[in-house]
Amino acid sequence: MAQSLAKEFTKGLWAEIPPFRLVLGLCPTLAVTKSVENGIGMGLATTFVLVFSNLLISLLRNVIPTKVRIACYIVIIATFVTIVELVMQAYTYPLFLKLGIFIPLIVVNCIVLGRAEAFASKNNPVMALADGLGIGIGFTLSLASLGAVREILGAGTITIWGGSPIFDLSHWFHPFTFMVEAPGAFAALGLMLAGMNLIGKK
C-alpha cells in the first residue's frame, strides 16, 4: 500500500513529469518561465488546484453521473482556480499581476482536467492526492528549471522570491534577450525536451 502510494507520488517527478514526458500544460510553461519566481508561483498555484480537485473528484467519483462528469469536473476545478485567484490577489499581489491571465487559465490547463479524467475518477482519495501532489510538484520543478535557463541566459539573474535577484550576472556578459521573449521560450522548451528524450531513451 505504502509502496504503491510512493509510486503514484514519484511518477510525477520523473517518469510522467509534465510538460516533458506528459506533453500537457504547454501554454503556461511557455508564458510564465521568464523568471524562476514566476515559474515557481505558477507551479504552486497549479499544484494547489490539482491536489484539491483530484481529492474532491476522487471523493465524489461514485456520486457523479458519467454523462455529466466533464461538466462537474469543470465546476470543481473552476471553483478551486477562483479560490487561488482571490487568495493570490490578497496575499501575493505583485506575483498575481505578473502571472496575469494565466491564473484563471489554470482551469483549462490540460494537466488538471487530464488527471481528473485519467486518474482521480478511478482511484481512491489517498492515491488521487499522491498523484496530484507528485504531478504538481513535478510541474513546478519543470517550470522552475525552464525559468532558470531562460532567466540566466536572457537576463543574467535568478529571482526566487520577492523581486530581487539572488544573484546578478548581467555585468559579466550581455544577456541574450531572445531567451525571455516569445521565440526563446519555444526554442528553450524544444531543446530541453530533446535533452530529456536523450537522457530518457538510454
Binding site: K67, V68, T82, L86
Partner: protein
C-alpha cells in the same frame, strides 16, 4: 428519467456549494485585496507626485461619489502651503486596454502638479516606457488647468512617445478626463477638504 434527475440534482448541488464557497472566500479576502491594490498600484504614483508634501496623502484619502462611480481622492499639502489633490483616471484605447493615470492638481494655483502612470498592459519596451521613463509624463508637470492636453498630432500640446502613439494618446485621454472631472468636482472636493 431517474438518470436525468440525478444529473440535474448533482449539478445543481455542486454549483450551489461552489457558489457559496466562492462567495465566502471573496468576502474574506475583500478588505485585504483593496489594501494590496492601494499599496502596489496607487501608492508608488502618489509618493512620486507628492514627494515633498507635509501630510500623509494615503492616510487622509477619502471617497467622493460622483453619481456614476466613486473616486478615491488623495489630498496633499504642498511645501509652499497650497492644497493639491490626486486621483486616478482611466485612459481608453491603450494597446493592452485602459491605462491608469494618477493626476495631481494644485487647487490654489489651478494647475497640474504632474501625472504618473499606474496601471497598463502596454507592449514591453515600447508603450511600457510611459511608466518607467518619466520623460513623457513630465510634460504634464506644472501645466495650467486650461491647457489643451491632447497630443500635438491631435492639435494639443503634448509630444507622443516615438513608436508608441496609441499608448501616448490613451494617456492624454486620461489626463483630459482628469481635467473635466476636476472642474466638475471642485466644489465637492473643497467641501471635503475643509
Amino acid at each position: 428519467m431517474r438518470e436525468m434527475i440525478s444529473m440535474i440534482v448533482v449539478l445543481t448541488v455542486l454549483a450551489s456549494v461552489s457558489g457559496g464557497l466562492l462567495a465566502a472566500v471573496k468576502s474574506g479576502t475583500e478588505l485585504r485585496i483593496e489594501e494590496q491594490v492601494l499599496k502596489f498600484q496607487k501608492a508608488p504614483a502618489i509618493e512620486s507626485l507628492f514627494s515633498d508634501v507635509t501630510n500623509d496623502p494615503l492616510k487622509e484619502r477619502f471617497n467622493l461619489d460622483t453619481g456614476e462611480t466613486t473616486i478615491q481622492i488623495f489630498p496633499g499639502k504642498m511645501p509652499d502651503g497650497s492644497m493639491a489633490v490626486a486621483f486616478e483616471t482611466l485612459g481608453k484605447g491603450g494597446y493592452g486596454g485602459d491605462i491608469g493615470l494618477m493626476v495631481a492638481i494644485d487647487m490654489d494655483k489651478d494647475q497640474l502638479v504632474g501625472a504618473r502612470v499606474t496601471t497598463h498592459a502596454e507592449t514591453p519596451g515600447l508603450g511600457s516606457r510611459a511608466k518607467d521613463d518619466l520623460t513623457f509624463v513630465s510634460q504634464f508637470n506644472d501645466k495650467s488647468l486650461d491647457t489643451n492636453l491632447a497630443l500635438k498630432a491631435d492639435d494639443g500640446t503634448i509630444s507622443a512617445i516615438s513608436g508608441a502613439t496609441v499608448t501616448s494618446r490613451a494617456i492624454t485621454r486620461a489626463a483630459i478626463e482628469a481635467q473635466t472631472l476636476y472642474n466638475d468636482l471642485k466644489p465637492e472636493i473643497m467641501k471635503q477638504i475643509q
